[in-house]
Structures are given as C-alpha cells and as structure tokens.
C-alpha cells in the first residue's frame, strides 16, 4: 500500500508532464514555398483558395466543420457532386473569399475569420501578399505530383492537429502504389496498353506530355503508357489527325467536362476508327468526392479503377468494396450502390470493354 501510492503518483505526474509540453508546443509546418508556418494550437477555422484543397481539408478532418471559406469553383464541384450529398451543409460555406482566378478578396477572407489560409505556392507574391499583409496566416502549397499531394495532405492534417490521420491516408496511398508498381514492373512493353487521356474533348481536343503530368503518373503505375508522352506542356491542343496517327488502344475522357460522354468518340468520323473506339475501350474518368483525374484524397481508387481496366488478369481489386471502405474512412459515409454506380458512370459505360467487373454483384 505504502509502496504503491508513490508509484501511482509518479505515473500521474509523468502523464501530466507528458501532456503539458504537447499542449504548449506550437505546431510548425514547412510549406511548399519553404516558409515556416507557426500555429499556437490546432486550427479550428481554415479557408482554402486553391480548388482541390477544399475537399482535401474535408477528407483530412472527416467533416466540413473546419472549412470556413473556399474557391467558388471548388464549392460548385462539392455541392454538385457526391460530397454535396454527404455534407449538405457545405453549400452554406462562403465562397466569395476569392474569384476562380485565386486572387484573394481580402475583406471577405478576413470576414470568415480564418486561423489559416491555404494558397498556391510558386504562383507569385500577388496571390500571397494581400493575405499576409492583412495579418492572416498563410500556408502555401504546390500541386501536381504524388509527392506534393501527400505533403500538403500532411500539412493541413497537421495544422488541424490530426497528423495521424494524414499518416493513415498517405500510408494507404503508398501501400497501393507500391503494390501496383510491384505488379506492373514485370509487364513487358508490348503488353502495355497505349492510353490517350483527353484533358478536354468537347470544343477542342487536348492532351498532355508526361513531364509533370499526374495522369501520366497513374497511367504508368497501372501498367500502361501514354501516347502523348512526348508532348511539350500540359493541356496542349491536338488534332484528330494526330490522334489517328497515335491510334491509341484506350481513350480516357476527362471528368471536368460535364457534357462530355462516350458518344464524343463514337460519333466522330476519325476518332471512331481508332483502336480504342473499335475495341470499345473508351472510358470517362469517374467523379467522386473530387474529380478522379487530378491528384486528390481518393487517388488510389483512380489507380485501382484504371489498373483493373488495363490488366484485368493482373489486377483484381474489388473496386466497389474499396470505395466503400475509403469513403467510410475519408468522409465517415456509407456509400450506397446507387452512389457507386453514379460515380463510376455505370449507366453510361457499363457496356464498355471490361467494365462489367465494376457492376454491383
């Protein structure tokens, strides 16, 4: 008895000591511009000016309560998509803190009383200075690669005091990517489908080079190659004749253009003669919590979807189950079968080659 008491006391003291420094220590984050952002405590109010970040913040937090402002384009994507259904309250989050062009409207921004403002790095001081000059704390991110995506996901999660959540979600990314890379590295070059990803297809056709392009990253990961790998630049306009010359095995349509459907390819006199159209291997990118084409919190699902389509003999992800699991983790939401059908455009492309695997069993 007399011995136990001091031990218990020591335990309590130790516990208190251990918890005090953690609470008093400010959070420091190195952002993508190399700045050190210091926060006295985990932030409760974040405003996001870059478009993809709004849905990332929701995913890293598991809800919308900390998002106090976002880009109007991000808002329309959230409200119109499945996130709007999961989080109907998102429509009340202010979006006039910036125009779609990312220039902050400082007064509106200040009115949302944010403890942290996310803004683009490497797009010049004009986008950042007004925020900093208004006395707000800015965290600058840059975009486009898998590495950067993981980094900024970790940054916002850390800022919200939930670094372990980003670790878990990024761990999922790393694990899926490693697993896929291990399987796809042995695929011989002549077995790799040649993919054309059309970043835009309605008014004019655009494709991207491999350098710095995220679609190229997951095309390679899924054991395929991009026919437009040698293009200089991103979102470059190309002619139907150039596509005929490439004659891709697979055509991926972007999910950005709402009116874009498979008939764009099948009704086109030139594109309908490509190998992709002849083999019915034209697919529109799914639209989930965010568009599946660019890097976002749901990216591993994009990779699985594409890998299953490119090599059904090698990759056999149970995509519907993976989606349910991911949405539960990311948004604490139970996806219904109708939700999944909508995200994957089952109604439109259920009959495309190898697409039956994604239908509800």
């Amino acid at each position: 008895m007399t011995i136990r008491f001091p031990i218990a006391l020591a335990g309590v003291v130790l516990a208190i000591l251990a918890s005090i420094p953690a609470r008093a220590d400010p959070i420091t984050i190195n952002d993508h511009e190399g700045r050190t952002v210091t926060l006295a405590k985990p932030v409760e109010r974040i405003a996001s000016i870059p478009i993809p970040m709004a849905s990332t913040i929701i995913a890293m937090d598991g809800g919308t309560s900390k998002l106090v402002g976002m880009n109007p384009t991000a808002k329309s994507a959230i409200v119109e998509g499945v996130l709007g259904k999961i989080f109907p309250e998102a429509k009340d989050i202010p979006s006039d803190i910036t125009a779609p062009n990312f220039i902050p409207n400082v007064e509106e921004l200040a009115a949302t009383n944010p403890e942290l403002v996310i803004q683009w790095a490497d797009r010049g001081p004009d986008l950042v200075d007004p925020i900093v000059n208004a006395g707000l704390n800015a965290l600058l991110i840059s975009y486009g690669s898998e590495e950067k995506t993981k980094q900024y996901q970790a940054m916002v999660a850390t800022a919200m005091g939930k670094p372990e959540r980003a670790e878990m979600i990024n761990g999922w990314r790393d694990q899926v990517a490693a697993e896929m890379a291990a399987k796809s590295k042995d695929i011989p070059a002549d077995k790799k489908p040649r993919i054309l990803y059309l970043g835009r297809a309605l008014e004019s056709l655009t494709a991207s080079g491999d350098k710095g392009n995220y679609a190229a990253f997951y095309v390679n990961l899924a054991g395929a190659v991009s026919v437009s790998a040698d293009l200089e630049g991103q979102g470059t306009t190309i002619s139907p004749e150039q596509i005929a010359e490439w004659n891709p095995d697979v055509i991926l349509l972007n999910s950005f253009e709402a009116k874009l459907g498979l008939e764009r390819i099948y009704d086109d006199p030139i594109l309908s003669l490509t190998k992709a159209a002849q083999d019915k291997r034209v697919y529109k990118m799914p639209l989930g919590g965010y568009r599946w084409d660019p890097p976002n919190q749901e990216s591993p699902l994009t990779w699985m979807w594409l890998a299953n389509l490119m090599h059904p003999d090698i990759f056999q992800y149970d995509l519907r189950a993976e989606m349910k699991k991911a949405y539960k983790t990311l948004y604490d939401y139970d996806l219904t079968d109708e939700d999944i059908d909508g995200i994957l455009w089952i109604g439109m492309q259920g009959d495309a080659t190898d697409y039956a695997q994604f239908k509800a069993k």
Binding site: S239, A244, I270
Partner: protein, 350 residues
C-alpha cells in the same frame, strides 16, 4: 498616284497583271494541294490523289478507311475553311484600308472581332460548343457593328473619324467584357479553352462548320467585289467623291456590313486570327498597285494562299496544334517589315 500610273501605262500593266494573277492563282492551288498532302497522319501522295479522285467520281460514297477520312473529312474542309477565311480577312482589311484611306487599319478597328470574341468566350463559359458558339460569336460581332453605327451617326451623317472612334469605344467595351468572362471562368476547364480559342485555330474545322462559314464569308466577299469600283471613289477626298455622285456615307456602311459579316464569321469558326487583314493587302498592293479593282481579288488570292500555308504549319510542325494568332504574328510581323522596307526603298528611288 497609282490611279495616274494606271492610266498612263494601261496596256503594259494589263499584261503584267494577268501574269501576276496567274501566278497568285497558281500559288493558291499549289498551297492547297500541298496542304492536303501534309499532315501528322502519313498518307502517300498517290493515295491522296486516288482518294480525291474517287471522291470526285463518286461523291455519295462515304469514306470508310482512316486515310480516306483524314483526307476528305479532316484536311479538305480544313484547307478550304482556311483558304476562305484567309480570303475574307485579307479582303476585309483591304476594303477597310481603302475606306479609311489609312494603310494601318484592320477589321479589329471596328470592334467586330472583340464583339465576336466576347460572344464565343461567353459560349465557352456556359459550356456551349459547336453551333451555339458560332452563333453567339457571330451575333455579338454583328451587334458590335450596330453599336458602332448608332454611336457614329450624328445628325444623320457618319464621318470616318467618328466611325474609328466609335469602333475603338465599342472594341474596348467588348475587350473588357472578354476579360470579365476570363475572370469568372473556371481555371480548370473553361479558362484554358477560352484562351486557346481567342488565339485562333482551325483545329475544329469540319464540313458543317465550313458550310456555316460559306454564306457569311461568301456574301461579304461578293459584296466587296461588287463595290470594288466604289472603293476607288471612297479613297478620294469626301468632297471629291460627293461631286462624282457617290454617297460616301451609304457606301461605307455597305462595306462595313460586308466586313462584319466576314470578320464575325471568321472569329466564330476559328477564333481571332490577327495580321492577315493588315499584312496581305500590303503585299497585294506591292504586287498589283492600289487600284481596288485589282487589289481586292489579289488580296483574296494571296490571303487564301497565305492562311492555308500558315494553317498547314500550325497543324504539322509539332504534335501540338500551334495557335494561328501566334504564327500569323510571328510570320506576319517580319514579312510585313521586310515588305514595307523594300517598298519604301523602291518608292524613294523613283
């Protein structure tokens, strides 16, 4: 001065002109044939001849092979649309330069291009493509001209200077509206599309698009062709023209409407292609002189050949489509400069 020269050396000039026109027509045909042969998808030259011949012999047969479709459905309408637009833009420039007696004006001066650009940009912003885009570009180009007309008409008369000023005002207004559209456009989707479209391209040329362009451009070209004698009179001083029984006011508006038809249609089908209306009439003037009766057809032929070749460069040099506005400026500016220098040297020697 050119008129006097035309009178004095009439006979020798006729021969020279026939030769010059023959060469220009030949150049146009050569440019179009070359353009149909060139492209990213390789089709042998004999095979192209075969395809074209088969299409002429049996126009009802639908092309089924890829090389047939490339030649007949991609290159042919594109080459024809580029040639037609080149002719329209060059003739528009030549006619405007005549009306304003100023070699530095081009259809942009009337604000038509900016009006059409606003219409097109707005259409892309709302997610429209194809014919709605064409229609909006054309209608807003036309409404820009109407606005210029209303602004410039003072006490029932329009003077050249008020038209230029009104054109500047209307052009600036629509340029600002284009900026507004760009400001609110989604940087992920519509903004790049708008920016690219504004730089000009025939990458979306199809037969339906060509048929849509033919009435506007054809009417405009025909009207200016019919008015080519009047253009010479309009180039005279206002008083002089009136004493010859011309109503310069009315005649000018005929020309403006014709030009807005051509420019509005061209912006609608291909975005903004600058420099053609400025450079080509100058080249034509150096070749055939200032008489609009020959300057207009010469500008049409040269403009058609020039834009056909520029567009061929745009679609063949790289896998990416190079925007036309970039090429016409990059090629047009040095050519324009060289032509001007040579022209001034020659005129100062005589």
């Amino acid at each position: 001065m050119a008129m006097a020269a035309a009178e004095s050396g009439r006979k020798s000039l006729i021969g020279v002109r026939i030769g010059a026109f023959g060469l220009m027509a030949l150049a146009l045909v050569a440019a179009m044939l070359f353009s149909i042969g060139a492209g990213r998808f390789s089709v042998d030259v004999p095979r192209i001849g075969e395809i074209l011949l088969a299409a002429v012999m049996n126009p009802d047969a639908a092309p089924s092979q890829m090389d047939e479709r490339i030649v007949l459905l991609v290159r042919l309408p594109r080459v024809l649309l580029a040639a037609l637009s080149g002719a329209a833009l060059a003739v528009g420039g030549a006619a405007l330069q005549g009306v304003f007696r100023n070699p530095l004006v081009s259809p942009q001066v009337l604000g038509i291009s900016q009006g059409a650009a606003f219409g097109g940009a707005l259409a892309i912003l709302f997610g429209y493509s194809g014919f709605i885009l064409l229609g909006m570009a054309f209608l807003l180009g036309l409404s820009a001209l109407v606005m210029v007309g209303l602004l410039a008409r003072i006490n029932g008369r329009t003077e050249v200077i008020t038209v230029i000023l009104a054109g500047m005002i209307v052009g600036a207004l629509f340029a600002a509206l284009v900026s507004v559209v760009q400001f609110v456009a989604d940087p992920n989707t519509s903004l790049p599309a708008i920016v690219y479209w504004l730089m000009g391209s025939f990458s979306t040329a199809t037969w339906p698009r060509l048929w849509l362009a033919v009435p506007g451009m054809g009417l405009g070209l025909f009207a200016v062709w019919m008015l080519r004698y009047r253009l010479n009179l309009l180039a005279l001083e206002e008083q002089e023209a009136r004493s010859l029984g011309v109503n310069p006011d009315r005649e000018r508006w005929y020309i403006f409407v014709a030009i807005s038809l051509m420019t509005g249609t061209s912006v609608a089908v291909a975005g903004i292609i600058g420099w053609i209306g400025l450079v080509v009439p100058h080249a034509a003037r150096i070749l055939v002189g200032e008489d609009h009766r020959v300057l207009i057809p010469a500008s049409a032929l040269l403009g058609a050949a020039y834009l056909t070749l520029i567009d061929t460069m745009a679609r063949t040099l790289t896998a990416a489509e190079i925007p036309l506005g970039v090429l016409t400026a990059l090629v047009g500016a040095p050519v324009f400069g060289t032509l001007l220098r040579r022209h001034f040297k020659e005129t100062s020697r005589t």
